[in-house]
Symmetry: C2
Subunit: 298 residues, 2 copies
Amino acid sequence: MADLKLKDLRYLVALADTRHFGRAAERSFVSQPTLSAQLKKLEDYLGVQLIERAPKRVALTAAGEEIVERARRILEASEEIVELAKGHRDPLAGQLKLALLPTIGPYLLPNVAARLRKQLPRLELMLYEYQTDPMLEKLHSGEIDVGILALPVQMDGLDSYELYKEPFTVAVPTSHKLASRQSIKVDDLAHETLLLLEDGHCLRDQALDICSGADVNEKQNFRGSSLETLRQMVAAGVGITLLPELAGRGAYGAARGVTIRPFVKPVPTRTIGAVWRKSSARREAILALAKLIEAHAL
Amino acid sequence: MADLKLKDLRYLVALADTRHFGRAAERSFVSQPTLSAQLKKLEDYLGVQLIERAPKRVALTAAGEEIVERARRILEASEEIVELAKGHRDPLAGQLKLALLPTIGPYLLPNVAARLRKQLPRLELMLYEYQTDPMLEKLHSGEIDVGILALPVQMDGLDSYELYKEPFTVAVPTSHKLASRQSIKVDDLAHETLLLLEDGHCLRDQALDICSGADVNEKQNFRGSSLETLRQMVAAGVGITLLPELAGRGAYGAARGVTIRPFVKPVPTRTIGAVWRKSSARREAILALAKLIEAHAL
DNA sequence: GTCAGCCATAGATGTCTTCTATGGAGTTTA
DNA sequence: TAAACTCCATAGAAGACATCTATGGCTGAC
């Protein structure tokens, strides 16, 4: 046997309101026989008479009254679902869980935060910081919607969008001999003491990769836990380090005792991109966000 | 466009539980393509993507999660309706609003109350006392389900069942000359002072009708408001009255100073019946009640 | 590279809602 | 008292839509 249908409940409530089959049918945009027959089926299905049909008087039985009451609640809740869905229709609204690399987040966000609020006002960003591998895991598991990291990464099931190419810069103590140069070659780093982040930070590998040609010495027994740690170490004269350009600019860049110098061409860079699940329903919001960052990151 | 269907919500909840189209379909007793297509239609109708479809991973969007939550509530409530209906299926259960004439109620109920509780234990009787006309009104309006009164009455839209024929008896002061008779003829009432109920009581009209042949005098400036008032007046020697047989028996019948005597044949009687709306859904319970009264009233 | 798992699509089928037309009971009006 | 009207139920036809089986396509695993 068929089961309960919302439509039938609507018919029943319409009848309860009008106490008249014809007008209830009209209100339900169906013919009177349709409403009549469907309500009879509803009674058959429930095994209870809901309606007293008298020539000039339609009334509900006790069972009918109780069921109408619940039917109203159900119909209200079903309307809520529709309304709720309406609220979710705007692809540029709602929560978007965004993760950034620790070497990107604090330096990129100040550049785009204001524009974000203006251009995507209904997008509620939830911010997280993860290193590449945990970020990819949380992306796959659905914990976050989009990650901003250094490309390339393993892309199975993921889509990506290239945001910008970020030049590396060299950070040296202000008193260092390289501080007087306008720009620096990779070979100039030979025999320098290089300060690097701890394992897990992709920036560590990128820096090592850049310096693989030159004969540099990584400072032993030291692993910085953040770029700010590195910066302070450089200021203290312990060694030099490589900083992504964004990290060398703005409020953070002006640290005392540290001088930032660009590389000469070909400037080593890293590619920053946004990554999300191919199957993500937030693709549209993510692309809007990505394009905004692309345009205003640097 | 079609509207929300409970079945679709069931599919969605099944998918939320299993996170697998095939198993959700199995749990819903439909094929996988059916569930797939219906959920897509649901998304189209709501205008929101509810499901992230990835090769090895089915997940819900934020909208999906919220809607599933409400869908669960709706489905629970719809189950409640079915359960509620089940509880109303027993035609011999539930409330039954029963009205009796004031000249019947106190005398009939003691005879049947015990049997009622035993034979119709799930029937919850709500008792009322009304005179004939208000009773018929409340019957038509649906305020009460069944009335017990003296037939015949105006039967438009009503059904009736004859319960019993109630003989009238004569109540006289014990010191009255008629008290010594074994039985009484209507003509014996000639020149007696007759005590009657106030207007509105059908018993008043019945008594007047019976006595219309004899030359009796209704006590002026007096109208009893209940049979008990009349009985006390008789005991006080003010006059005589007619009592329905049930009112002359049992606990009430034994009042001091009052003697009850039967009429000789043809004994005047009134016909007591049950009356209900032709359209009433409680017909079955009413008939069961009526047959019980018919068997055990006298 | 092949295989298995899984969801989407296509086309056919059948159920069930819905319609119009009509019947029948009851009430009101001429 | 008959006729017209109101209102709900029934009948039969038409149409909409959910459902099925078969199949395709994509992905991840061995």
